[in-house]
């Protein structure tokens, strides 16, 4: 149980990268990028976890209750929302690429220059 979450993080990262490398459709590639990003959230929260501790909210428990790390949660929180917006930007690029080149196959798109 000691390193199992981090092995899962590595697996998700590897699977997502494999999807990006072997993709034949731009939107499929973008979804695989989302999967890669999600591995970082799991890593952040896995690092801050303390066995037997509670969430860092103290409205009903005393301040000295053992709690997990709030800093990594704050990072992961803004991460999730902001990367959704960046995904939207990538999708906008995909739409324009389809308009200009007529294809969404990344292995054909790479042959266009300019």
């Amino acid at each position: 149980m000691g390193v199992f979450p981090f092995v899962v993080v590595a697996w998700i990262l590897a699977v997502g990268l494999y999807g990006i490398v072997t993709s034949r459709h731009l939107v499929h590639q973008i979804v695989c990028l989302i999967v890669v990003q999600s591995s970082t959230y799991v890593l952040l929260l896995g690092v801050g976890y303390r066995r037997g501790a509670a969430a860092p909210y103290f409205s009903d428990v005393s301040v000295h209750t053992p709690a997990v790390d709030p800093v990594v949660q704050a990072l992961a929180l803004t991460d999730v929302v902001v990367e959704a917006a960046v995904t939207a930007l990538l999708l906008a690029f995909a739409v324009q690429a389809h308009k200009r080149f007529g294809t969404l196959d990344p292995q054909e798109l790479v042959q266009f220059k300019g």
Partner: protein
């Protein structure tokens, strides 16, 4: 480089990376044994210092507010970027929304979906407002509240009222709301500087009780502005992508 070669190169690289990663894992302190002092210190002093019982939001909007400002501007830039990238290309003409929605041969939205979606708009708005304004008391905050607020707009679109959605989200007003949200956050920081304190110091009165709605000084205010900005950004993004389906093809090249 054909696909098979690409796949083998990737697998070779991934094998090397996996070897390094597993070697690094052997030195980790193990899952569940968080050793660092930073989290413990913040957990102990945050409630006393900021009167906010939601420590994660206190970290987001007070201790690391500068990071959050940067992240919010990434969001802002992404929304503006979507608007710019999806500008009308030369030769594209926008058909009026009414014509477009009438001659698309899609099935009309079923009554069940329309009813449920429209019923849920009110509670979603209230939920989003609650989340955006209670950052300091419980698991909530500007980011989640803003997305839920944007979802209320999206529900109207899902109920099949595409024309209503177009009318209640005029891009000029939503862009202005987004700018107000982003600028408001930066302005709160600047007003701290105007009082002689470091940028983004929590200078408003902290309130009487920890966890009350009007407590924790600038945390609640910043969270409110962030909620407005995130909601407006997502409505802009969805509007822009929706508008793309209205453009007709004019192959004038």
């Amino acid at each position: 480089m054909n696909p098979a070669v690409r796949r083998w190169v990737f697998l070779a690289g991934a094998a090397g990376l996996a070897a390094f990663y597993l070697w690094g894992l052997t030195g980790l302190p193990g899952f569940g044994s968080y050793p660092g002092p930073y989290g413990d210190i913040i957990n102990r002093i945050a409630v006393a210092q900021t009167n906010a019982t939601g420590v994660v939001s206190a970290v987001n909007f007070a201790y690391r507010a500068f990071d959050t400002l940067g992240e919010e501007f990434i969001l802002f830039a992404a929304a503006v970027g979507v608007s710019i990238v999806l500008r009308h290309l030369r030769g594209e003409r926008q058909r009026p929304a009414r014509d477009e929605s009438m001659d698309r041969n899609v099935a009309p939205t079923s009554d069940a979906i329309r009813m449920v979606s429209l019923i849920l708009v009110g509670p979603t708005l209230v939920m989003g407002w609650y989340l955006a304004s209670h950052a300091q008391t419980s698991p909530s905050g500007g980011f989640q509240g803003g997305v839920v607020l944007a979802t209320a707009f999206i529900l109207i679109y899902l109920a099949g009222e595409f024309l209503v959605f177009e009318r209640i989200s005029p891009l000029a007003a939503i862009d202005a709301a987004e700018a107000v949200g982003a600028g408001g956050f930066a302005a709160i920081g600047v007003s701290a500087v105007a009082m002689g304190l470091p940028y983004l110091t929590n200078f408003l009165p902290l309130g009487s009780r920890p966890g009350a709605v009007s407590s924790s000084g600038t945390i609640a205010l910043i969270s409110f502005f962030v909620g407005i900005e995130v909601a407006a950004a997502f409505v802009v993004i969805v509007s822009e992508l929706l508008e793309q389906t209205l453009l007709s093809r004019q192959e004038s090249r």
